[in-house]
């Protein structure tokens, strides 16, 4: 059966239990789904379906499995690695209609929600109880919690409060066989293997998530932010180490370089010092007296590290304004050039001066401007490469530069993705970061859940064949690992 025949058969069957409006099949209906937040990659799916009950999801998955049609799940489509990029021969399963908050349990401090609920909506619903959901990706006004779990999203507060994996307690998932499983327990752990950890960040490759119970935390009594300017990026990097070494765990600790500062300032007028080489934003939260004590200490440390100016937020409005510049850094940088490409490596913090120096050299070599925003507390770097997709060959150049930056992060002892996921974007660099044995074991894990490779196939984990063709085999100390292995 060819794809068109499959498509017609699918539509005929789906019409039995989905409203016509929940099945999108014409080109103009499919177009909005051709990409996620990584618009450099586009593909039209065979079909988009928008179920609204778990039973419908089960039926769709069973049907697709029986016809061996791949399924790509999608939440809000804000992902930055192409994890929700459709497949031309696959069904795009939108969970947008799963948008209800099912329960807020005040005493147990949990929220049970559907996957299409927006990240920020959870905190808004929990606010009357003095509670909130801690992970806060910059896209939190739009991104969905299902996508957060699939990508194990971070945010500006993860140094202190953890990633998504640390804040999820239970999942309801649909397997490729159409079964509904409960992963995790009502308490803090469950019997058997920690499948909950395995699900978080599995990029839609193992199961489809249909319900999520997240942990809620009491809203801190007080929060205050210090902004420090530096005339040298390396000094700002050292200041970060100094704060950590002093035993302080800030709620957020962010850094921006000069191009990012200027772009953000022009966009939101937060009052950033546009001549600074770098700024640090350091937020502390807790009891008022505690925060005030620590703010003093942090200011001393920052001065000692060579900060050229300091500004302390005097109220929540000012604090939020200073954050606004950081959270809007991506769209702000987007105004400097027709297109930008966001990278997501993590490095050991002490490597920051070296890595930034190399990025600046690479930026010169490739003649592409790079702005850097950095979750400095946890070493997660977001270089933003500016370009113009309409210029012939420029995107290819950008991808090459991006690849080099990711390899640089691995070389520095880090990783190719801190919080955005591998998706289609970083799949080649997986060959650099992981050994063939590790990749083979990832495939074995995938097989456990999805023998026929129907859930988001081709994403996140490259085939060994692909790695061999790229010639990008994981090389350590100049030696090919496991010389006994076949190289295809």
């Amino acid at each position: 059966m060819n794809d068109q025949n499959k498509k017609q058969l699918l539509i005929n069957k789906l019409q039995g239990w989905l409203a016509d409006s929940a099945i999108l099949s014409s080109e103009e209906e499919l177009r909005p789904y051709e990409c996620d937040g990584l618009s450099a990659y586009r593909e039209l799916p065979l079909l988009v379906v928008l179920p609204e009950t778990i039973e419908q999801v089960q039926a769709i998955i069973r049907l697709c499995a029986s016809l061996e049609i791949p399924v790509v799940a999608r939440g809000a489509g804000t992902g930055l690695s192409g994890g929700a990029l459709p497949l031309s021969n696959g069904v795009l399963l939108s969970l947008a209609k799963f948008n209800r908050i099912l329960d807020i349990d005040q005493l147990n401090r949990t929220a049970r929600v559907q996957p299409g609920v927006r990240n920020l909506a959870i905190s808004e619903a929990a606010a009357p109880y003095g509670l909130y959901y801690a992970p806060d990706p910059s896209s939190q006004i739009a991104c969905s919690i299902g996508g957060n779990v699939a990508e194990n999203s971070g945010g500006v507060h993860c140094l202190k409060y953890g990633l998504t994996v640390h804040n999820v307690q239970q999942l309801k998932v649909v397997t490729i066989g159409g079964d509904v499983l409960t992963i995790g327990g009502s308490g803090f752990d469950s019997a058997g293997y920690d499948l909950l950890a395995l699900m978080c960040g599995s990029e839609g490759m193992l199961v489809v998530i249909v319900e999520i119970t997240v942990k809620l935390l009491p809203k801190p009594e007080y929060a205050q932010l210090v902004m420090a300017a530096f005339d040298d990026v390396a000094k700002a990097g050292q200041a970060v180490g100094g704060i950590i070494a002093a035993g302080i765990v800030p709620a957020g600790l962010e850094m921006m370089d000069n191009p990012a500062i200027r772009a953000s300032e022009a966009f939101v007028n937060a009052g950033y010092p546009t001549s600074a080489a770098a700024i640090l934003l350091c937020e502390l939260d807790g009891a008022r007296a505690e925060v005030q004590q620590q703010i003093q200490k942090v200011q001393e440390l920052l001065r000692h590290s060579g900060a050229t100016s300091l500004r302390v937020s005097s109220n929540d409005a000012e604090r939020e304004l200073l954050w606004k510049g950081r959270k809007a850094a991506f769209p702000a940088v987007g105004r400097l050039a027709p297109d930008y490409y966001c990278m997501d490596g993590t490095i050991p913090r002490h490597q920051l001066p070296y890595v930034l120096q190399r990025i600046s050299e690479l930026s010169g070599e490739f003649r592409l401007q790079v702005a850097n925003v950095f979750h400095a507390g946890d070493g997660n770097l977001h270089p933003l490469i500016l370009y113009d997709a309409n210029k012939e060959g420029e995107l290819q150049k950008v991808e090459q530069l991006g690849g080099k930056i990711l390899e640089l992060c691995v070389e520095a002892g880090g990783t190719i993705t801190g919080e955005h996921g591998v998706g289609v974007e970083k799949i080649n660099q997986m060959c650099v970061q992981f050994s063939p044995l590790a990749l083979r074991q990832f495939h074995a894990v995938k097989q456990v859940f999805d023998e026929k490779q129907l859930l988001n196939p081709g994403k996140a984990v490259p085939t060994l064949h692909r790695c061999a063709e790229l010639g990008a085999m994981h090389v350590h100390g100049g030696k090919l690992p496991f010389p006994e292995l076949e190289r295809f």
């Binding site: 005493l107 308490g187 803090f188 960040g201 004590q293 993590t346 490095i347 990783t415 074995a444």
Partner: protein, 358 residues
Amino acid sequence: MSDLTEQLQAQVQHALQARTPLVIQGGGSKSFYGNACEGSVLSVREHRGIVEYEPEELVITARAGTSLMEIETTLARHGQMLLFEPPHFGETATLGGAIACGFSGPRRPFAGSARDFVLGCKILTGKGEVIEFGGRVIKNVAGYDVPRLMAGALGTLGVILEVSLKVLPSPEAEVTLAMPAHINEAIDIMNARAGQPLPLSAAVYDGEAVVMRLSGAVQGVSAARKKIAGDELKQGPAFWQQIKEQRHFFFDDDIPLWRLSLAPATLHLGLPGSWLFDWGGALRWLKTDATPHDVRDAVAAEGGHATLFKYKEYWEQREPYCVFHPLPPALMAIHQKLKTAFDPEKILNRHRLYEDKF
């Protein structure tokens, strides 16, 4: 400080060829835990040493046989700690055993569990392959989260050779408060407190009193101290040590000891026996002669699970492999396939987690 990777790999490869099971052993401090398993001993105790520790990076990497005490002492010298407060259950406790068992101490509800702090690991699979997963940085989402899957897997998916953990600064100040309470009030008190912005770092009900610990900066702790009723317990650190290491008098006798994992605010269960609540009510220790069936029915009705933790001989003789809560068939099928993906001949800690299929 020695790297025995090659010897250990050779031993596993040999066992694989001969299809003989291996019992992984570190310091032996937690050998009481889990179902009985048989086989020749694969000792990782001498595979030891801290491989990398840069305090400012908040990450420590060490080999599995490194003693937990050595790790904690080293961290303490730099004002840092393992925030999940791993129970040792003996002086010989090793890092590998702590992660393989996945135990976490009283700080767990407020700071996170053992698995939460795992960043990367090197394992030796049942296929005799040495593989590294994860990394040595705090944030890393490349590849499936195999490192965290190893936490609590009891070595059944691979021999842990090396682990990287996130570490954090130790709190500047701590104070312990005790408030006499009836068992029926204890759950409400602990959970109401946990919903407020207080620097709580432990909440226990020991049968007589709710005992809570506040941790953090000096000012924060003293401000919180004023908001909570209760008398300061001068022997606070000793009390928490007793709770964590099960040296509190509650754990003295040898009645079957059950570990119940429940939503923290779950109402007190009507099972016979005596109780100690940890983790603000999410972890409940029960000494009881009730049957495994009765205990598990009561716990499962609340969405939790029950582990026969210690003093299990009586039930083991009657119901072999009864230590862990049975899994629904669909989940058990996934567990079996995962086991096969990492250890196809089932040579690693056979039976320790679940009956003959493991």
